[in-house]
């Protein structure tokens, strides 16, 4: 999902940068609020960021024959919402842009927009919808992470198709989808499963924090 340094015209860099900056500032305000309300939120926040760090460093092979990496953006979304996840994605993307030449500083805004905003927002909608249908938290989190991962790559395809429409923007979008999203499907399943495992351990260790954050109800915490 990383758009490489310089591979986006300056105008689009600026547009994505402005949109992402607004969401990131809002996310920082939300982090301040969440950590002021309860001390327990901070370790969970660090854990969500660390999970993203690990998952986005693992480049895995896919059945399409090329490699890509999961994003880890579903976990933080469920606990803190999409805006906070956008802040966490900034840390990961900066690390990779500066030290690994993956992504870039000029394309940072676009990459935050796909990995930190579109993916998490779509995942959040899925989470809210499944939870309102009384589906258990681990199953819901699987689909949240799956959708957040996949939509991140769809968003990258949209960004590239908008910047490089070619003769037919629709066809270009499909071509980018073929490169990014198809490869990502099995990896998104893997990410969903991994997110479910770490969630199971978090709920086992500290169900009380999840209740405080409104992730699960007290009955669900008690059943554990």
């Amino acid at each position: 999902m990383h758009i490489m340094e310089g591979y986006l015209p300056p105008m689009w860099c600026a547009i994505w940068f402005i949109i992402s900056a607004i969401v990131v500032v809002y996310g920082i305000m939300q982090i301040k609020k969440a950590t002021a309300e309860t001390d327990d939120a901070l370790p969970l926040l660090a854990l969500s960021g660390a999970f993203m760090f690990i998952l986005s460093s693992l480049k895995m092979p896919s059945v399409s024959g090329s490699c890509s990496h999961p994003c880890g953006n579903g976990l933080g979304t469920v606990f803190f919402g999409p805006a906070v996840t956008a802040v966490l994605s900034v840390i990961v993307l900066l690390f990779q842009a500066i030290l690994l030449a993956h992504g870039g500083l000029t394309t940072l805004g676009a990459n935050i927009f796909s990995m930190g905003i579109v993916g998490p927002v779509c995942g959040y909608v899925v989470w809210k919808a499944l939870r309102s249908m009384n589906i258990s938290a681990p199953i819901s989190i699987f689909f949240t992470a799956f959708v957040a991962d996949l939509m991140t790559y769809v968003a990258t395809s949209v960004e590239l198709a908008l910047a490089f429409p070619g003769a037919n923007m629709g066809a270009t979008f499909v071509a980018f989808l073929g490169i990014f999203a198809v490869t990502q499907i099995p990896l998104a399943i893997a990410e969903g499963l991994l997110t479910m495992v770490i969630y199971n351990y978090i709920q086992d260790a500290r169900p009380d924090i999840l209740v405080k954050l409104g992730v699960i109800s007290e009955q669900e915490a008690g059943a554990n």
């Binding site: 690990i54 490089f164 499963l193």
Partner: protein, 99 residues
């Protein structure tokens, strides 16, 4: 609970190993197992020959070895934080139960 998680991890392992078996014998030389990020860049270059890449990374890892070092570092930072926090939580819970 633990068996369920181990079962899920085995499924993840199968998902990752399957492509290696399907495309066994192929490698980077015949276009397999490359990164999709690079493919995206190549597609842009091929279809937009007039586009000038206007920025270059400030620094690039000088070799694949250095790159893998930094990727390992990234994963290690994440892993150490996760391990520390779970240890902190479970340790705290154990002390609480003993009191």
């Amino acid at each position: 609970m633990d068996w369920k998680n181990i079962g899920i991890l085995i499924i993840v392992a199968i998902l990752i190993v399957a492509p290696l078996i399907i495309f066994n014998g192929h490698g980077e030389d015949d276009g397999y197992f490359g990164g999709s990020d690079d493919q995206g860049g190549q597609y842009i270059e091929q279809n937009n020959p007039n586009y000038k890449v206007w920025a270059a990374p400030l620094w690039e890892p000088p070799s694949g070895e250095i790159e893998s070092l930094l990727f390992c570092l990234q994963a290690a930072i994440g892993a150490i934080i996760i391990g520390f926090i779970f240890g902190y939580w479970y340790g705290g819970k154990k002390t609480k139960n003993q009191q």
